[in-house]
Amino acid sequence: MDLSLLIIQALNGVQLGLLLFLVASGLTLVFGILDFVNLAHGSLYMLGAFLCASLTFVFGNFVLAVLVALPLTGVIGFLVERFVARPLYARDHLDHVLGTFGLILVLDTLAHLIWGPAGIAVPLPEWLQGQVALSETLVIPSFRLVIIGAGLSAAAGLFWLVNYTRLGMLIRAGASNRTMVSALGIDIQTLFALVFALGAMLAGLAGMLIAPITEASIGMGNNIIITAFVVIIVGGIGSMKGAFIGALLIGLIDTLGRSFLDDLFKVFMSSDAAETSAPAVSAMLIYIIMALVLSLRPQGLFPPRTR
C-alpha cells in the first residue's frame, strides 16, 4: 500500500463523511430540538437531487440549479413540517415513525410519477469535469474537492449559525428546554418550522452534490438515511459536534474498509477467503462500530449537555 493511495482514499472518506454530515445534521437538529423522528429525511435528500437535476436541464447550469433548488427544498421541508410533522409532535415516537414512513412511500411514488423510474444523470459544467493533480500520483476528480469544500463551508456556516446568532441561541435554548423557551414568549412553532426547513435544505444540498456522481434516482434517500442514523447514534443524538465527528468517522471507516480490508485479510487468511469475506465485513463495519459505541457509551460519543 503506498502513501498517495492512502491519501486519496482518506480524501474520498472525508468527502463521503461530509455528505453524511449534511444529511445527519438535519436529522439530529430535528430530533434534538423537535424531538421528532423523521424517517422521511432521506426523501428530502432525494427531492433535492431531482429538483436540481431538472433545473440543471432548464437553466443549462448546475451551479445556478443548486442555488434555485436549495430554497425550493427548504419550502418543501417547511410544508412537510406544517402538514405532516406538526400534527404528530404530541404523539409518541412510534407514530412519528409510522407517519414519516408513509411519507417516504408517498414521496417515492410521487417522484416515480413526475420523473419516471429511470433516474436522471446530472451533467456537470466543463470546469468541474476534470481532475486536480495534487502531485504526480495524487489525482482526484475536481468535483469531489468541490463536495469537500461545500460540505466544510456548510458545516462552518451551521457552526456559526448555532453558536453566534440569535436564531442559533433560540435553537440551543429550544433543545435544552422548549417549554421554557415558549414560556418566554418565543414563537416556538415558527422556530420549529425554520429548523425543519433548514434540515431539509441541508439534506437537499447533499442530494444535489451526489446527483452528478451517481444520479438522481428513486429510493436514493433510503440508502443514506440508515447510515445517517448510524452517524447520529455514534455521535450522540441532538449534538451538532457529534454529527460532524461521527459523520467523518463513519465516512473514513467505510471508505478505508472498502479499500484496504481485503489486503489486511490476506495477511492471515487465504487469498480466496479474503476476497469473499472482505466485502461482507466492510459492508458491516459501520454497524459493528455502532454496536461498539452503543455498548460502551450508549448516549453516543458527544451527547448534548442537557435536555
Partner: protein, 391 residues
C-alpha cells in the same frame, strides 16, 4: 405493487364470452426502486409482443400478469408464490436478477408450472439445478463475460482490474471473464448490491488506478451502470485504464449519458448476444415498432422478454391447450419461433446455444447514441455448466 393487464380486447371478450380458453403468463420483474427502468423496458417489450401476436397464442387468449420483485429475493419469491397459487398462471416468466430467480425457482417448478427466464442465468440453474420445465431466452451469466475475456486476449490486454456487485450474477460474471482471460487479474472488488446498493465507487476507482492494470472490466447493470460510467469519466481514466464492460453500457444508460453529454462512453465496447442492429426480419420489426411506440431503443432485457413471450406463444399455439404439459415441454424445447436474434436453439440444459457479438457505442442517423455490432466473438456458444446438467 402489481399491475394487472388484461390484454384481451374487450370486444373479443364479449363475443367469444367465457368459452375461449386463456393462457396465463405471470411476468416477474422490477417495477419499483431505481432498477424499475429495466422492468419498464421488459414490460414494454412484453406488451409489444402481445400486440404483435394480436393478443392470441393460436386459438387461446393471452393474458399477462405483471408482478414486482422490488429488487429483493424475498419479495420476488412472494410475488412468484402469489402468481402460482392465487392467479394459477400456466407460465412464470421474467426475472432480471439471479438471486431473485434462485429464490423463486422452487415455487414455480414444484407447482408443475413452466419457468422461463428472460434475463437471469445463474450457473446453478444451468448446471446442477437444471430442470426440464425451466427454459432461458437469455444466456448463462458466464457467457457474456467469457466473450469479453476473449476480446481482451485478442486486443493484447495483459493485466486487468475487475469490479462487480457482490451477488450471484456478479460472481458468475467474474468467474466468466477469469475463465477465458489469459492475462493477470491484478485486483478485484465486489461491491454491495440490492435496493441499497453502493453507487459511489471513489475508493474502488482509486484502487483500480493505483493497480496499474492495462484495463478495467466491470459488470454494473441498471442504474449503477450510469453511475459507474460517470465516475469513471470524472476520474479521467479513459486514457490510462480503458473500460471493458458487460451489461453496463446499454439502451437504458445511453439516453441518460447522452442527456448529460458524457462523451467518454463513445466508442466503448461491450459484448452481448443481441443488438438492435442485428439483421433479421423479426428484429427489424421489434426495434422499429418499439421505437415508434416508446420513443427509445429497446435493450437486450426487452429483446429477451419479447423472445420469452414469442417462445411461450409458439408452444401454446402448437399444442392448442395449456393442460398437456408433456406436449408443451416438447414444443418449448423445439423453440419454433422467429427470434429477434435470428436462429434460436436450446442446448441440453435448456439454455440457448447462440452467438456473442462485440458491440461498440456509436451515434445513429438521428443523432441518438446506440450500439452496433463490430464482430462476432463466439459462434453457437454452449455454456460451461451444460455438462453438469443431468436431465
Amino acid at each position: 405493487m402489481k399491475k394487472f393487464l388484461t390484454l384481451t380486447l374487450a370486444a373479443g371478450l364479449m363475443s367469444t364470452a367465457a368459452w375461449a380458453e386463456t393462457v396465463k403468463i405471470g411476468f416477474v420483474t422490477t417495477l419499483t426502486t431505481g432498477a424499475a427502468v429495466i422492468g419498464k423496458d421488459m414490460q414494454n417489450s412484453v406488451n409489444l409482443a402481445v400486440e404483435h401476436l394480436g393478443g392470441k397464442a393460436g386459438d387461446l387468449d393471452l393474458e399477462v400478469i405483471f408482478a414486482d420483485d422490488g429488487f429483493a429475493p424475498e419479495t420476488g419469491k412472494q410475488a412468484t408464490d402469489k402468481l402460482v397459487k392465487q392467479d394459477d398462471v400456466d407460465f412464470v416468466a421474467g426475472y432480471i436478477w439471479s438471486h431473485v430467480l434462485l429464490a423463486s425457482r422452487k415455487s414455480v417448478l414444484d407447482a408443475g408450472k413452466f419457468l422461463i427466464s428472460a434475463n437471469a442465468g445463474p450457473s446453478q440453474i444451468a448446471g446442477k439445478l437444471c430442470d426440464q420445465d425451466f427454459f432461458s431466452t437469455s444466456w448463462q451469466n458466464d457467457q457474456t463475460p467469457m466473450a469479453m475475456g476473449e476480446v481482451l486476449n485478442r486486443q493484447g490486454v495483459k493485466s486487468l482490474y475487475v469490479m462487480a456487485p457482490n451477488y450471484a450474477a456478479g460472481k458468475d460474471m467474474v468467474a466468466g471473464v477469469e475463465r477465458t482471460f489469459k492475462g493477470e487479474i491484478v485486483g478485484k472488488d465486489l461491491t454491495k448490491w440490492g435496493a441499497d446498493a453502493q453507487l459511489d465507487f471513489s475508493a474502488e476507482l482509486a484502487k483500480a488506478k493505483a493497480s496499474g492494470a492495462d484495463g478495467i472490466f466491470v459488470f454494473y447493470p441498471g442504474a449503477a451502470g450510469g453511475a459507474f460510467i460517470k465516475q469513471y469519466d470524472q476520474a479521467g481514466l479513459k486514457d490510462t485504464l480503458p473500460l471493458y464492460s458487460v451489461f453496463t453500457v446499454d439502451a437504458l444508460s445511453l439516453p441518460k449519458l447522452q442527456a448529460a453529454n458524457l462523451t467518454g462512453v463513445m466508442g466503448s465496447r461491450t459484448t452481448q448476444e443481441w443488438d438492435p442492429s442485428l439483421d433479421n426480419a423479426a428484429n427489424k420489426k421489434f426495434v422499429t415498432d418499439y421505437k415508434a411506440k416508446y420513443g427509445a431503443y429497446p435493450s437486450y432485457y426487452g429483446a429477451q422478454s419479447y423472445d420469452a413471450i414469442m417462445l411461450i406463444a409458439s408452444a401454446v399455439a402448437k399444442v392448442g391447450n395449456t393442460t398437456d404439459k408433456d406436449a408443451l415441454r416438447a414444443a418449448l424445447k423445439e423453440a419454433d419461433f422467429e427470434s429477434v436474434r435470428g436462429k434460436f436453439k436450446f442446448g441440453s440444459n435448456n439454455f440457448p446455444i447462440e452467438n456473442f457479438y462485440l458491440r461498440e457505442v456509436v451515434t445513429d442517423a438521428d443523432g441518438t447514441w446506440t450500439t452496433k455490432v463490430v464482430e462476432t466473438v463466439f459462434e453457437d456458444h454452449i455454456d460451461s455448466y451444460a455438462a453438469e446438467c443431468k436431465m
